[in-house]
C-alpha cells in the first residue's frame, strides 16, 4: 500500500462470457520497471486500455499515487501524471516533430486557451519541448514532418511527448515493436535511464529486453496474472515456462 505509484486492484472486465481481465492485481513502485508479459490474446491491450482510461472495467480500481482514478477520463488521467505511449505510434502526422512535442508541453501546462501569441515565440513551451527532444536524441529532426520519420524515430518521438508531461508513471505498450536490433539496444538503454524520472509499466514481447530491464515481471495469461516476481523468479517458475516461456519467441 505504501510507495506504490500505480496500483491496480482486482480489475475485472468481461466481454460477454469471456473474462479479459480476471481479478488483476498489480503495483508499480517508484524507480522500478514493472514488465507485463504474456501470450497473444492474454488481455494485455485491454489491461493497458483500462489503466489509461479508454476502457472502463466492470469491477476493480486503479490508483495513481493513492488517488482513485478508476472513474476518470483519459485526458484527466494524463493531467494527473499518466504518460502513455502507444504500440502503433499515435502522433499528429502532418505536423513536425517539434510541434508534436509542443503539443505535449501545452498539455502539461494546460495552456491550450491561448489564441493570440504565436507558439514560436513562447519560450516556456519551446524549452520544455526542446529538452524532451534532446533527452530522446531527436533535436536535429525538430522541423521534420512526422510522416517522413522512420518507425524508430516515431517511437522516440512518442517517448519525448510522454516526457513533456512530467508523468508520475509511464505506461508503455510494446515500445520495442518494429525496432531493429540497433534501435532495440538504444531504446533499452534509454528506458533504463528513464526509470529514474518515473517508474514504467511496460508491456513487451521482446524477452531479451524484458529480462534486461525489468525489476519485476507479471505474467498475464487468459486475463489472469499467474505470477509476479523478479526476473529470476519468473524464469524459474514452472507454470510460466509451461504457459509462455516454454515456446520462447526469438528476440526480434
Amino acid at each position: 500500500m505504501t510507495g506504490a505509484v500505480l496500483k491496480v486492484e482486482n480489475l475485472c472486465k468481461s466481454f460477454g462470457a469471456l473474462p479479459v481481465s480476471d481479478a488483476v492485481n498489480l503495483e508499480v513502485k517508484s524507480g522500478e520497471i514493472h514488465a507485463i508479459i504474456g501470450p497473444n490474446g492474454a488481455g494485455k491491450s485491454t489491461l493497458i486500455g483500462q489503466v489509461a482510461g479508454g476502457l472502463s472495467p466492470d469491477t476493480g480500481s486503479i490508483f495513481l499515487n493513492g488517488q482513485d482514478i478508476t472513474g476518470l477520463k483519459m485526458a484527466h488521467r494524463a493531467q494527473l501524471g499518466l504518460g502513455r505511449t502507444f504500440q502503433i505510434s499515435s502522433l499528429a502526422m502532418e505536423m513536425s516533430v517539434l510541434e508534436n512535442t509542443i503539443l505535449g508541453a501545452i498539455g502539461q501546462r494546460q495552456d491550450a486557451h491561448r489564441f493570440w501569441s504565436p507558439v514560436s515565440r513562447n519560450a516556456a513551451l519551446g524549452d520544455i519541448a526542446m529538452t524532451a527532444l534532446a533527452a530522446v536524441g531527436l533535436s536535429a529532426h525538430a522541423d521534420q514532418v512526422v510522416a517522413t520519420l522512420s518507425h524508430g524515430q516515431r517511437r522516440q518521438l512518442e517517448v519525448a511527448v510522454a516526457l513533456t508531461l512530467r508523468p508520475k508513471v509511464f505506461l508503455m505498450d510494446e515500445p520495442m515493436a518494429g525496432l531493429g536490433s540497433e534501435g532495440t539496444k538504444t531504446m533499452t538503454g534509454f528506458l533504463d535511464r528513464l526509470r529514474q524520472k518515473a517508474p514504467i509499466l511496460l508491456v513487451e514481447h521482446d524477452m531479451d529486453a524484458v529480462f534486461a530491464l525489468a525489476d519485476r515481471i507479471s505474467v498475464l495469461v487468459y486475463g489472469k496474472i499467474i505470477a509476479t516476481g523478479s526476473v529470476e523468479d519468473i524464469r524459474k517458475n514452472p507454470e510460466v515456462r509451461a504457459a509462455y516461456l516454454g515456446n520462447d519467441e526469438p528476440a526480434s
Partner: protein, 324 residues
C-alpha cells in the same frame, strides 16, 4: 509562388478591382467585389471549424442566416418604428451597423454554442448529418414563422448606418466589408499560430493523441465551432445589408454547400483560400451564368475535379509551382 505572396496578391486585387471600378464609375463591379468580400468572410468563418478543426459542418448556413435575420429583425423594427419587445422594458430595433453586428455575432456564437455542444458529442458521419439537419430546421422554422416575411423574406429599405460613412455609397460599403475581412483574417492568422491553433489542428489529425497529452478535444472543438458560427453570422448580417433583403434561403442547404465550395475551391485551411474561392465562384456565376442558365453543372464538374484530383484547391495548385 509562396503562399504569403499569393495572399498579399489576392487581397491587393480584391481592393484594386473595386477602386478601379470606382474611378471608372462602375458601381456594379464594386457591388460584386463587396459580395466577394462578404462571402469570403463566411468562408473564413467556416474555415475555423472545417479547415482548422476538421469539423465537417454541413449546416453552416444556419449561422449565415442567423446573422442575416439579426439584421433583418433589428432593422425592420427600426424602420417601422415598432419596438421588438414592449413589456418590462422596451427593446427597440436599430439601424446602427455596429449594434447589429454585435447582436449578430452574439446570436451566432450562442447558436453555435448550443448546437455545437449537442453535435460535437458525436463524430464522423453523425456530425455531418446532424449539422445538416439543424440547418434545415432553421430553414423550415423561418419559412413558417410569419412575423418576418416567412417564405417571401423581408426587405430593408435603407442600408443601415455606420458613423462617419455614407453606407449607401458602394465604395464606402465595400471598404467597410473589406476592413472587416482583413481584421478577421488577421485574427485567423494569429489563431493558427497560437497554442490553440496547434491543438485544434492536432485534434483534426489525431484526437487520441490530444487526449493523451491531457487536453479535452470536445472543449477545443466547441470553442472553434463557436468562433466559426460568430464570424459566419457577421458575414450573414453584412450580406443582408448588401442586398437589403433577408430570406429563409440564407438558411438553405444550397447556401451551406456554396459556402463549403468557396472554402474547397480556394484551398481548405488556407488563410486566403475562401477569398480565392469566393472570387472564383462569383466570376463563374457572372461569366458562365451569362452563357447558360444551367451553369451549376459546370460548377459541379469543377468541384468534382477539384475533390478528386486537386485537393489543395487553387492555393495548392499555385503554391506548388514555386519553391516552398
Amino acid at each position: 509562388m509562396r503562399e504569403r505572396h499569393l495572399n498579399i496578391l489576392v487581397l491587393a486585387l480584391l481592393a484594386a478591382v473595386p477602386l478601379c471600378a470606382y474611378v471608372s464609375d462602375e458601381p456594379f463591379t464594386i457591388t460584386l467585389s463587396t459580395k466577394v468580400a462578404i462571402l469570403a468572410l463566411a468562408g473564413v468563418g467556416l474555415n475555423f471549424a472545417l479547415g482548422l478543426g476538421g469539423l465537417v459542418s454541413l449546416g453552416h448556413a444556419m449561422f449565415f442566416g442567423i446573422g442575416g435575420y439579426a439584421m433583418g429583425i433589428l432593422a425592420s423594427h427600426a424602420q417601422s418604428y415598432t419596438p421588438i419587445y414592449d413589456g418590462l422594458f422596451v427593446f427597440e430595433g436599430t439601424k446602427s451597423m455596429l449594434v447589429i453586428w454585435l447582436v449578430a455575432v452574439l446570436a451566432g456564437a450562442t447558436a453555435a454554442l448550443v448546437i455545437g455542444a449537442l453535435s460535437l458529442r458525436t463524430t464522423g458521419v453523425y456530425f455531418i448529418m446532424i449539422t445538416l439537419a439543424f440547418g434545415q430546421m432553421f430553414y423550415y422554422f423561418t419559412i413558417s414563422w410569419p412575423a418576418y416575411g416567412g417564405e417571401d423574406g423581408l426587405s430593408i429599405y435603407v442600408r443601415n448606418g455606420f458613423p462617419g460613412l455614407n453606407t449607401l455609397d458602394p465604395i464606402q460599403f465595400f471598404a467597410l466589408c473589406y476592413g472587416i475581412l482583413l481584421i478577421v483574417l488577421y485574427f485567423f492568422w494569429r489563431l493558427e499560430r497560437a497554442p490553440f491553433g496547434l491543438v485544434l489542428k492536432a485534434s483534426r489529425q489525431n484526437p487520441l493523441r490530444v487526449t493523451t497529452v491531457g487536453l479535452g478535444v470536445y472543449r477545443i472543438q466547441l470553442i472553434a465551432f463557436v468562433m466559426s458560427g460568430a464570424v459566419t453570422a457577421l458575414a450573414g448580417a453584412l450580406f443582408a445589408d448588401l442586398n437589403r433583403f433577408v430570406s429563409p434561403s440564407m438558411f438553405s442547404w444550397q447556401t451551406s454547400g456554396e459556402i463549403m465550395i468557396f472554402v474547397i475551391l480556394g484551398g481548405i485551411a488556407r488563410l486566403c483560400g475562401p477569398v480565392i474561392g469566393a472570387a472564383v465562384f462569383i466570376l463563374l456565376e457572372q461569366i458562365l451564368g451569362d452563357l447558360s442558365q444551367f451553369w451549376h453543372i459546370y460548377l459541379g464538374v469543377l468541384l468534382l475535379v477539384v475533390v478528386l484530383f486537386a485537393k489543395g484547391g487553387l492555393t495548392g495548385l499555385i503554391t506548388r509551382r514555386g519553391a516552398s
